[in-house]
Symmetry: C2
């Protein structure tokens, strides 16, 4: 993994991946006590940054592999990213999803043109099903984060941040990144190492699912006590990736941890002050900027809103949360 | 009014007014039966396009007039736009607002640095109060739409649309614009006359407040039966402006009219598919694109989301509206 891969990924993404703006609001600056800048990846195609990594992976395949198709395991943002990126490349995509996934997610993934294969979480192994299909059809597996071309794609977010920060005159910033498996965090860290080396990259996670923060603090990969159960489901993973962790260890940290209630408050602020729809996991970095100011150094703080795929019920819950 | 004023306004706005992106969604294309492109002015500073016109007016004042300050009558998006543009210019701003305005709107306008003067709708004339203050302090009145520099500022939206449409390969589009007094509609129409003359500009309004559509159909300015009472309050005005109407008559129409329920449905689609917060009046153009397809000619349709300043209660109502 290096900056050249990210630059090459950015060149392949030109005209296909959205360059999201860098936004701000006087009201958020006031809450945070410093200038707050927002990189809204909820405005990316499919509503999350995952489209960047998916586009990067698809566009790096050789034509023969692409024609055979790709496969991914996901019920969430990665599924939609791979489905749409495949459709735009004219490549078949198979997405393995749990049978009990929300119907809307299954419908959306199909609407992006993917073949959805459902499995029973209790009695079936998605890996076995996936391996069989991949072998039969010659499909290429696109992992959600521990995959160099995916990390390179997420890193294009960092190239944009560096350029937009320079245009805005930002010299000394903490860059807080919503962190699941670490693909976005490590990609941005690599990009900023090259393009804005004075910036500090900080992963943000929800309480109880702060595997990246604890791994960075302990100097080794550690997992979470529970596999599931956060409202920030989009960014919950068992532990940092084998590829992403060493990059984060070298370039990112310390981690920031926020409560579910703070994530919901940040969603309400994004609604009121930015006119953006953030999902709970996509709001943890903004929550850290607003409510963990004593753990932040920079005069400026730049945060990702990593996704906006939230249902109406959860969004209404956020709007009813009062700080 | 001419294109040179709009180009000069754009030059003054560089680095201060946000260049909003041009977004799309496969899901919206499917509903509309054609490609739908969104110009999200809800992402503009202060959450609406009104900041463009306010910036344009403030930046065109001579330094002496600017130092004395400006005055505006508004309880809504124009108030916030003038307040922030004035603050950024270091110019005093007085905003005359009804005493019974929502407290949040008053607080926001003050937070943007303006002096808010409250009046009693029943017993006082805001024009008298304003004229007295303006004379005492030498303030310049910034009208919300019937003012050349304001129209020029709104027209910068059209310059961006022309450029972004060319980049996206759009050749034959209806451009649907949320229409109140006609400042945004006439500004965009003038810009596109010069930069994308094959595009058709179409004002969109809510039922019962379709003064622009009826004025264009009858060839003369006509007003609405009721002055108030739409959920689309941000774009309700008594009738088209004396400056904006002749421009619209020459370059825009016919008008498109949608129901309140369709505006709410469009808000829900913007939430689900674009991750954007639209206010009811800001969603009428998207509603027209989605639900009035038989009145639209182009292979592509470009719509403004003119603003996103909506409270949580109204937004929840939109999320609960099912088409």
């Amino acid at each position: 993994m290096n900056i050249d891969m990210i630059r090459a990924s950015a060149a392949r993404a030109e005209g296909h991946v959205r360059r999201t703006p860098l936004l701000n609001s006087h009201f958020l600056d006031e809450i945070a006590g410093r200038r707050v800048w927002i990189k809204p990846e909820c405005l990316q195609h499919t509503g999350s940054f995952k489209f960047r990594g998916a586009w990067s992976a698809l566009s790096s395949l050789n034509p023969e592999a692409r024609a055979k198709g790709v496969i991914a395991y996901s019920s969430g943002n990665h599924a939609q990213g791979v489905a749409l990126a495949s459709k735009m490349h004219g490549a078949p995509a198979v997405i393995i999803m749990p049978k009990d996934s929300p119907r809307l997610k299954i419908a959306n993934t199909r609407a992006y043109g993917a073949e959805v294969v459902l499995y029973d979480r209790a009695g079936e192994s998605r890996e076995e099903i996936g391996a069989k299909l991949a072998e039969e059809r010659g499909l290429t597996l696109i992992k959600p984060y521990d995959e160099p071309q995916v990390i390179a794609g997420q890193g294009t977010t960092g190239l944009e941040i560096a350029q937009q920060a320079a245009e805005a005159g930002i010299e000394n910033a903490d860059v807080i990144v919503c962190c699941g498996g670490g693909g976005l965090t490590s990609g941005i860290a690599l990009a900023l190492e090259a393009e804005a080396p004075s910036f500090r990259v900080r992963p943000a996670e929800p309480e109880g699912f702060d595997d990246a923060a604890r791994s960075l603090a302990q100097g080794k990969i550690v997992g979470n006590a529970r596999p599931l159960g956060s409202i920030c489901d989009a960014i919950v993973t068992p532990q940092p990736g084998d590829l992403t962790y060493p990059i984060m260890q070298r370039l990112a940290g310390p981690g920031l941890v926020v409560s579910d209630d703070e994530a919901l408050q940040a969603m309400a602020q994004a609604f009121n002050r930015l006119k953006l729809v953030a999902e709970p996991g996509g709001a943890v970095a903004l929550a850290a900027a607003l409510f963990r100011g004593d753990e932040i150094e920079g005069d400026d703080v730049i945060v990702t809103i990593s996704g906006g795929n939230v249902d109406a019920e959860m969004f209404e819950r956020a709007l009813q949360t009062r700080g």
